[in-house]
Structure formats: C-alpha cells, structure tokens
Amino acid sequence: MTDFAHEGLDLQVQQSGSATVVAMRGSLGMIDVESVQEQLRRLVGQPEAVVVLDMSDLHFIGADGLDMLLVSRGLSRVQHGQIRLVNPSGEIRRILELTRLDKVFGIYASVGDALGA
C-alpha cells in the first residue's frame, strides 16, 4: 500500500552522456512543486538539453505538477531542448491520458529507450 498521507518526493539526478536523467520517486504533492520546478528550470535552461524524467516510481502528481511539466517543456523548447517522460505507470499514466498530455510529451518505455531516441 502506498502511504499517500506521508510520502514525499525524492529526486535522483544523474548525467548520462549529454542527457540528464531525473528519477522521480514518491509523491509530487503541492508542497514539492515549486522546488522541483526550480531544479528542472536549471536543467532545461541549458542549450539543447535533453532531460529524461523517469516516472517509474512516481506515485502521485496533481494539476500543479502537470503545469510544472508544461512550463519546463516551454523553457526547454526555447533552448531547443527536450523533455522525455519514462514509464509513467498506473494512475500517473491515466492522468496523462485523461489530460491528453500523453500527446504533448514523448513517453518512452525505459530510460534506455528515451536516451536512444
């Protein structure tokens, strides 16, 4: 059972060649959005940056989190970069489909697929 009452968010950032892989673990709740936005802003602010968001262990995201992804995508595009989403499972995938953001973001089955795209 996921501890939705207390679970926070942990971000692991790794460089993989010219791309940055960000593993998102836990719940991206209302309190975390601002700090994650700031971290992503730094990453996508580089020219032609490719940022891979591994959502395999992400259990929760709300509308503010989705907005944060869209803002980051906009900043990335200004720098001719890309944001790629990896393996959003369960309810996260359902939310992306309900909001049709699965049509906006590139979604990949694995980090390897996203890096090789």
Binding site: H6, I95, V104
Partner: protein, 136 residues
C-alpha cells in the same frame, strides 16, 4: 450532515497538513490505493483552487473544509472566501488549443476521479463524494 470541520489559512502548508490527516483516516479505513489516490488528488486540487484562485493567497481569508469519512464513502465541502466562478467559463484543458497551456486541469481531474461533484450557486464552495468499491 458533515462530521468534521477545519478552517485553515490560505496557506499550502496548512492545506498539506489537513490533507495528511484526511489521508491517514482514509487509508486507516481500508480504502484501496486507487481510491486513496483519487481522494488525495481531488482534495489537493480543491484546496489549491480555494487558496490560489479563490482567496488569491490572501492571509486574511480562510478556507473551510467539512468532511465525513465513512467506511463506504467520503464526502467533502471546500469553501473559500473568493467571489466564486462559473464552471462554464473554465476552458476545456483537453481542447487542442489549450493542451499546452499550464492551467485548468484541476477541476477536470476532480470530476474524473470523484463520483459526485457540485458547486454552490456562487461557485465558491465545492462539494464532492467518493464511494468505496466493495473489495471481493
């Protein structure tokens, strides 16, 4: 009649603490992960909308949350002190022209995940219900 009532400031940390308390109770009642996810999502969106769009972070305004957590269903009423809004004026975030706009998804997610959703006439009080599905 709703059994519990909390009044919080227009503050996300206070909202998070209330959400934490509600989710502890919900999960303690044995609601499934999918149901707990839906309740967390809907309550979070309702609180953010009340604080951000309703009260506009005004520290002199409060958000009143009434809730009733039963083994078979959860009910909420979330009211802010803003002027309210008309649902028909909220653009469809899934329309092609709005897809990349970073706004407007909270209300549609509440409607997608809760079983009953309604507003008062002014549009500054949201009421919603999630029913528990019997586990086999």
């Amino acid at each position: 009649m709703l059994l519990s009532k909390k009044v919080i400031q227009s503050d996300l940390e206070e909202a998070r603490q209330l959400e934490e308390h509600v989710l502890e109770t919900v999960q303690g009642c044995g609601y499934s992960d999918a149901e707990a996810f839906a309740i967390k999502l809907a309550l979070e969106e309702a609180l953010i909308n009340a604080i951000k769009h309703g009260n506009r972070y005004d520290p002199d305004k409060t958000v009143t949350v009434c809730y009733d957590i039963e083994p078979d269903r959860v009910r909420f009423a979330v009211a802010d002190e803003g002027p309210g809004f008309a649902l028909c004026n909220v653009p469809d975030p899934t329309a092609d022209e709005n897809l990349e706009r970073p706004c407007g998804r909270g209300i549609m997610l509440i409607r997608a995940y809760m079983d009953e959703v309604s507003y008062n006439e002014e549009g500054n009080e949201l009421r919603m219900v999630k029913r528990r599905v019997e586990q086999g």
